[in-house]
Subunit: 392 residues, 2 copies
Amino acid sequence: MSHLPVSKTAAAVQPFHVMKILGEAKALEAAGQDIIHLEIGEPDFPSLPCVHEAVNQAMQAGLTHYTPTLGLPALRQKLAEFYGQFYHAQVPMERIMLTPGSSSGLQLLLTAILNPGDKVMLTDPSYPCNRQFVNLLHGQVISVPVDASSQYQLNSDLLQAHWQEGIKVVMVASPANPTGTVIEQTELVKMAQFLAKQNAYLLVDEIYQGLVYQRPAESILAHPNLPDNVLVINSFSKFFGMTGWRLGWLVAPLALMPILDRLGQNLFLAAPTLSQYGALRVLEPDALAQLEERRQAFEMRRNALLNAMQQAGWQVSVQPQGAFYVYWDVSNLTDNAEQLALDILHHAKVAVTPGKDFGEFKAKHHIRLAYTTSPERLTEAVKRITDYLATR
Amino acid sequence: MSHLPVSKTAAAVQPFHVMKILGEAKALEAAGQDIIHLEIGEPDFPSLPCVHEAVNQAMQAGLTHYTPTLGLPALRQKLAEFYGQFYHAQVPMERIMLTPGSSSGLQLLLTAILNPGDKVMLTDPSYPCNRQFVNLLHGQVISVPVDASSQYQLNSDLLQAHWQEGIKVVMVASPANPTGTVIEQTELVKMAQFLAKQNAYLLVDEIYQGLVYQRPAESILAHPNLPDNVLVINSFSKFFGMTGWRLGWLVAPLALMPILDRLGQNLFLAAPTLSQYGALRVLEPDALAQLEERRQAFEMRRNALLNAMQQAGWQVSVQPQGAFYVYWDVSNLTDNAEQLALDILHHAKVAVTPGKDFGEFKAKHHIRLAYTTSPERLTEAVKRITDYLATR
Ligand SMILES: Cc1ncc(COP(=O)(O)O)c(C=O)c1O
Ligand SMILES: Cc1ncc(COP(=O)(O)O)c(C=O)c1O
């Protein structure tokens, strides 16, 4: 096999380090151990029963063929209305495209924009796949190290301080993975305006939109005088609780839509049809009301976890405002967060994600905790870890 | 907008020309006209009721989360058994990966292999997306013109005649789109063996596997002494009648699997979960028996269409043996198949696909007819076109 060709870029793609933790956690579980999972980046809730009913009806009606590449017109229209109603944003359906997960949305947008050698600015830490999308397109990642001093986020000052020629896209996520922090809308708009002058795009990942606590859910698209360089991706995975359905969407300037359509025709043909019928249903008011209850459940979990961490005297350098993650600063405990994560798994029986999965900057001093389980299990997890740390 | 950056490669991606036909067909239908659709590359049948039941059960059981990137282990295992039982092929589940449509399988494999500048050999005509995958990876397409003299397919002689340094992958499809022709297994194996000596891969698109007429369904994987350079993609779209479910699979050498896994983690996370539960069901014997009935229905359609074409005196230069396409040689009628397709739509009210969508070689002399509708409609379509041609 070694004589057969392989892509250098593809071979350089790193695995998620949490996979090692996951593998060992599974082995421990197979051996009868009770493991608390704080490493899982998806809601534990299944999708809503009303979604299942709608999908059932669509199946019975034989609606199982390819949809248009841009998605079902009715769903694009519904998303346009959703923006109007819940975000006071005027987004015509012509600017909306359904994608097979926002993963494909990210890939599609970057593929539509980048030529080899083009630069993309993003933060360290951030969602790991973004770096790989850029690498696979032979672009260059311009990594801006961020920490608690900027809420682990980019802002207009940082952006300008790190600006360099050749950057075509700046990627942010709000709320972010792995930190759960939010960028204020005014700051986002300032960045968009600066980038517009530089003929560069601002790509805002709003996949955790809706999952915010003690503050309103927002979209950058609500801003009335937004320049035309703003790209948005979103997904039915997180707030809507539909990870396995592989359905997301993107919003792009009208002028990009024909290119995105043609790329989609070739790269994936269309997003999954029944997922689109399910999504039509999940955007109805009664379904959204149920999702609001789930959001409140996440809020209670968040508070339970943060309280327990505080009482245990752990360093929580910023209060996460969204998503379902806390980025735990373990610099007082170790210089090797990956080893600590393994120790915590084996001694405290709690699975967590080492910072290394999200970049390099202070990665060895951070661990991501996902509160995708019950408040009781979260409190129990903190107790287990505290007990273990006391023995070290 | 014009000042904002755009990828040159992405901007160069051509739309499917049939989209124009489709758009005009829809307009005619909206105006009350009865259009016969022979342009549609997917079965008209919906997916099977037993699949819908299985998906319903999976939804009720809350199985709506992400699966592992390689796919549900049970489904990988089931596909391994499927190869053993129906194709007498020994394919361990470790070599099988589920993908969101075989579209993603094609993208994934080429991404795993190609460095910029690497060459990929494929035929003209062939499935149009393959060329775009190569272009988007900054590879170079080596196009081998094929016509009726080689059944519109590559063979070992043609491959060697067109061989050049730098080719890393040769792509074939059997049965093929747009021609429905098959490559004999002995020929495929000869090609694989030649390519193995050149350290290059043979990628066999078996997406129309199972849809063959008057001959047995086959897989190259059945060959006992196959070199390790063979890649296969397949899909639940066509034979299994599950286009909108966006589920395919690939078979690759073990050594490539870790790279494919990591690429998949980043590019799409996982294939749609419920589609995977549906696929588990569709591989059961009773479901396969229903699909065999559908295959017979396609065979009747094929015969009806070919008979009608023959009686009308049309040029059918090769007998298609699989898929659901006839590549109609219209060189005696026009030098502009695209214009003829438009004329046929407007005068005969039949929608067809111009050869241009599949390449350049003799494209202006060919039209693809898809027999994805009833024998009656197929016969009627030939009559309508014949009547129109008589008036020209
Ligand atoms: C910040 C962020 N963006 C995008 C994604 C991709 O999710 P999906 O493809 O399910 O929409 C994820 C998944 O975890 C994420 O955390
Ligand atoms: C030859 C061939 N390969 C691959 C595909 C991709 O199909 P899917 O992504 O639905 O599996 C098609 C679709 O028409 C095709 O004709």
